[in-house]
Symmetry: C2
Subunit: 199 residues, 2 copies
């Protein structure tokens, strides 16, 4: 019973502290969110956020920059939400698949021009740029230009960038950054990519 | 042009190495996946995986252990997939909201008994236990019992555990572990929780 009383007192103190922090946080704005790092979960975390927005009746754009060659199940699932989701596959595949830097750059530039349209359109509550960090890292798209366009976007629009090796200039600019750190990966244990998990 | 030739040669070598690793990874099995750490993206990464499974026509169970008191938009979105998704909210809220350890334990135990049913049912391709790491950390559910039940589950069934502070015994058991590391969080900048991002 003492245990129970102690637990209650501790939780009351914790609640007071959480409530104070919630009280202090009053600003609302469109967030720039970055999921980076070598661990798994970057793309799926972004797609989970898309699901949240859809559940609120908001409109979402998802643009895949690099994984373009892969036919993904999430594309099928997201498309079932009809006009609440705009889904575009722009790239042709990973750099080691295409082996053609000029071609990769052309595709990324075309994708970026399309994205600029979404970043001017306040009807999109969230714009997800999947593997965009890789396009920036490879200098397919100029990071300074991206920052300028992001700053000029509709004030309540959320933007999510995924991919390894996020550039410092974008981390500086972001409101929310999570590094997905790889602790264990099944590939290293000889387990192959499986539907529902890897694609 | 030399640049282009060098890029192609480098990418050819990289592709050969990736292909060798894909060739070597041939095992298929249900994975135990853990998303842990203090950073954001754990629950959304799990839900993105649910979306992937749904896109493959697979059946998914999602059980929320702790966030039960929150009416979530993702619940609405997932439920639109009909009988491909079983969604259960079992808990009553965070420990600092309920302030009642006995009650929290009772709810977690009830939830776990329901989960045991899913973990015996091969028709579920994926079972997602949201914030389950917290229930284990608080000893609401016994970790050794959980490991035993997980080992006895259908061999192709994937299980995803989310929540901070994953127990070592489960990390040991897991096939895929990502730590979501917080680099930047908007709450600390005075920005409040917003629909589509935080809930």
């Amino acid at each position: 019973m003492t245990d129970q009383v102690e637990h209650k007192a501790k939780m009351e103190r914790l609640k007071a502290s959480v409530d104070r922090r919630i009280e202090a946080a009053q600003e609302e704005k469109g967030l720039l969110i970055i999921y980076t790092g070598a661990g798994k979960g970057k793309t799926t975390a972004a797609l989970g956020m898309a699901l949240r927005c859809i559940g609120h009746g908001m409109k979402v754009a998802v643009v895949q920059f690099i994984k373009g060659a892969i036919d993904t199940a999430e594309e099928r699932a997201l498309k079932s939400f009809g006009d609440r989701v705009t889904f575009l596959r722009m790239g042709e595949g990973y750099t080691w698949e295409t082996q053609d830097r000029e071609r990769d750059t052309t595709f990324a530039q075309e994708a970026w021009q399309t994205v600029c349209g979404f970043l001017r359109d306040p009807s999109y509550a969230m714009v997800i740029l999947d593997e965009f960090n890789i396009a920036l890292q490879q200098d397919y798209v100029d990071a300074a230009e991206v920052v300028a366009v992001l700053r000029a976007r509709p004030p309540m629009q959320h933007v999510v960038l995924t991919g390894r090796g996020a550039k410092d200039v974008l981390i500086e600019e972001a409101d929310l950054v999570t590094e997905m750190k790889q602790i264990k990966h099944p590939f290293r244990k000889g387990i192959k990519a499986q539907p529902g998990v890897e694609f």
